[in-house]
């Protein structure tokens, strides 16, 4: 096994790891060595083709098909230089004050999260798209929401030079989305932070990680790793885990930290989601323009959020429940389709957790609570009202039997869309906002870390990603992950003298 030594090792390069890498760059100027280990590859700009399966294989864990242990829900999370920030749509919202208050993490205030979030909104060029760049799919959502009595709000987006390819979730082919692969990681590298890709961290040891550097396989996208393939022990005074909710939690579990951290793996939430589809009588602009420009926030009170969306043929087909002629007829109507994403604001409950199997691979146990199912059903009804308010001819609703709802039935939505038709294993559900597993809190009896991501009882180990969330955020998590990672990094900077001391020992 080869040996290397750094002052700080960061595991993961997404919203958390990328932020920490850039924030710790001043340490490099002070003579310290900072390393980022990323499991995925560094994809070249010309390799972002927008082709669905090809890009999903290159950018997502399990090609985007990671399943919960019972196979009832698909979990999507990125695995590339830039992590999930390569594949999100760039929606940039500050955490709601009520959520941070409900989290009740000692020392963590909404004001601090909000201030740090604003810093990253600036850094990531977050702004509202001008009206001429809003496509019909989004415009109809706003019109339909108004007709149905909902207030649609515009998403601030972190894009610069967006051409409107609509391919955000397959990695922007125009380098417009300002993920960590475009902003924080290049800045960190320019400052001397080292980033090594194709680096699968197997386990954490005392002030060290064991990492496998993989070789590029024939036909695979991305550059070769910066290091020779093989197994390495990388020693470090400080280790910051930012491999995402599932990645960081599984790494700690297979490293044996579960014995001293009984809450490790708990408090997993993910905003389970339906993709709903409606057909209009005329072609609309849907596969051109930013796909996610508006949302309706009914999290408080009704437990759901609706977002505009537009997915690719296989993803759309898979997420529409059912098969056969009815399913095909919607797919053939693609140029006339409007889509809405319904997200349920699930809550952390016992049993919904991350664990590892005998080989140390992550396993996610997730049971849909009645509250989550009801939230999805309420969101589906609201979406159907919006679709019909926008003039749709028919709506495909997963929690309806028959699933096809015609415009003439618009007054019967409460009756047609019902929780009894939500059948686990039949109804397509997916999630991309993976949260919890290393929750922040007071001490090891209720959590894994404190509000600065310091793992209880392990002073050299930090967590800086969405696994810190003690409960669902009820909005897209990336900006809050950046805010928390910035907070973690600020404490590491404060303690940098201590790191130097440890390395001398």
């Amino acid at each position: 096994m080869m040996e290397k030594t750094y002052d700080v090792v960061i595991v993961g390069s997404g919203a958390g790891g990328g932020t920490v890498a850039a924030a710790l760059a001043p340490l490099v100027r002070g003579g310290k060595r900072v390393l980022v280990l990323e499991q995925g590859a560094r994809i070249e700009d010309h390799e972002f083709t927008g082709r669905e399966i090809e890009m999903a294989d290159a950018l997502y864990e399990d090609g985007g098909g990671f399943l919960t242990s019972d196979g009832a829900m698909t979990l999507a999370f990125g695995r590339a230089y830039g992590g999930s920030t390569v594949v999100y749509t760039g929606t940039s919202l500050v955490a709601p004050e009520r959520v941070i208050r409900q989290w009740n993490v000692p020392g963590l205030t909404h004001a601090d999260i909000a201030e740090r979030s604003e810093k990253y909104k600036q850094q990531n060029s977050v702004h509202l798209l001008p009206p001429e760049e809003i496509n019909d799919n989004n415009r109809l959502f706003v019109e339909g929401a108004a007709a149905a009595g909902y207030h649609a709000e515009q998403f601030p987006l972190n894009v610069k030079g967006c051409l409107g390819s609509s391919l955000c979730n397959l990695g922007c082919p125009n380098a417009a989305k300002q993920g960590t692969n475009r902003v924080q990681l290049p800045a960190a590298e320019r400052a001397g932070v080292e980033i090594v890709t194709r680096a699968h961290v197997q386990r954490v040891e005392e002030r060290a990680v064991i990492v496998d550097i993989g070789a590029k396989r024939p036909g695979q996208k991305g550059r070769e790793s910066e290091w020779q393939p093989g197994e390495y022990r990388v020693r470090a005074g400080m280790i910051v885990l930012a491999g995402g909710s599932i990645g960081s939690t599984a790494l700690l579990l297979r490293s044996g930290f579960g014995r001293m951290l009984p809450r490790l793996g708990e408090r997993f939430t993910c905003h389970p989601a339906h993709i709903l589809v409606a057909e209009h009588d005329r072609p609309i602009t849907n596969c051109v323009g930013h796909p996610k420009s508006y949302f309706v926030d009914r999290a408080e009170g009704e437990g759901f959020v609706l977002e505009t969306c537009m997915y690719f043929p296989f993803t759309a087909a898979k997420n529409m429940t059912g098969f056969g002629a009815e399913h095909s007829s919607f797919m053939r109507a693609f140029p006339r389709l409007q889509m809405i994403l319904v997200l349920a604001c699930d809550r952390a409950v016992p049993g919904n957790r991350i664990r590892v199997d005998r080989e140390g691979r992550p396993v996610v146990d997730y049971t849909f609570t009645n509250e989550t199912i009801e939230a999805l059903v309420r969101g589906t009804r609201a979406s159907a009202r919006i679709f019909f308010g926008a003039g749709a001819l028919r709506v495909h609703a997963p929690s309806a039997r028959p699933r096809l709802i015609q415009a003439r039935e618009r007054d019967r939505l409460d009756e047609r869309i019902d929780a009894r038709h939500f059948i686990i294993g039949t109804t397509s559900v997916s999630a991309a906002h993976l949260m919890g597993g290393c929750a922040m809190g007071r001490d090891a009896t209720d959590s894994v870390t404190d509000s600065y991501g310091r793992v209880h009882g392990v002073p050299w180990l930090r967590v800086a990603d969405s696994s810190l969330f003690p409960d669902a955020l009820q909005i897209n998590p990336y900006l809050t992950v950046m805010a928390l990672a910035d907070r973690v990094a600020s404490m590491v900077l404060q303690e940098s003298a201590e790191i130097a001391g440890a390395m001398r020992i």
Binding site: D70, V288, F312, P335, G425, T426, S428
Partner: protein
């Protein structure tokens, strides 16, 4: 991968996506290649489960219709798959969902299918249509 189960896979695929009946041999080869590629990245146990489920679908109709799945007409094939999809036994629903997902991937992930349904996303975005 599908040498022993090709007929079953195609019979199920044409029930899930009726348009698949019009596929040429070369297009079927693309569908199978995409599915095989997806399965090759999954644990061997999952691949075995898919193969077992394919054979289960083939034999199940013997109990009700006295015929194998591949010998049924379109309507009865759809009934069998719908019975699996809505079944009270979770494992059967899950198996059907997984098989359906693989078939939808094989069919709709092909550029020809995307073109056929009018999916026209382009890296050039607005420039491509203005």
């Amino acid at each position: 991968m599908f040498s022993d189960t090709r007929d079953i896979l195609r019979a199920i695929a044409t029930t899930v996506v009726p348009e698949a009946k019009a596929l040429t041999e070369s297009e079927w080869a693309d569908v199978e290649r995409i599915i095989a590629s997806a399965l090759s990245k999954r644990p061997p146990a999952m691949v075995r489960q898919v193969m077992v489920f394919l054979r289960t679908v083939q034999r199940l109709p013997l109990l009700r219709y006295g015929l194998r799945f591949t010998s049924l007409d379109d309507a009865r094939r759809a009934q069998v798959l719908n019975w699996l999809q809505e079944n009270r036994i979770f494992l059967l629903r899950k198996g059907m969902w997984g098989l359906r997902t693989l078939i939808l991937m094989g069919y709709y992930a092909r550029p020809a299918a995307a073109d056929r349904i009018g999916y026209r996303a382009s890296a050039r975005g607005w420039q491509a249509i203005r």
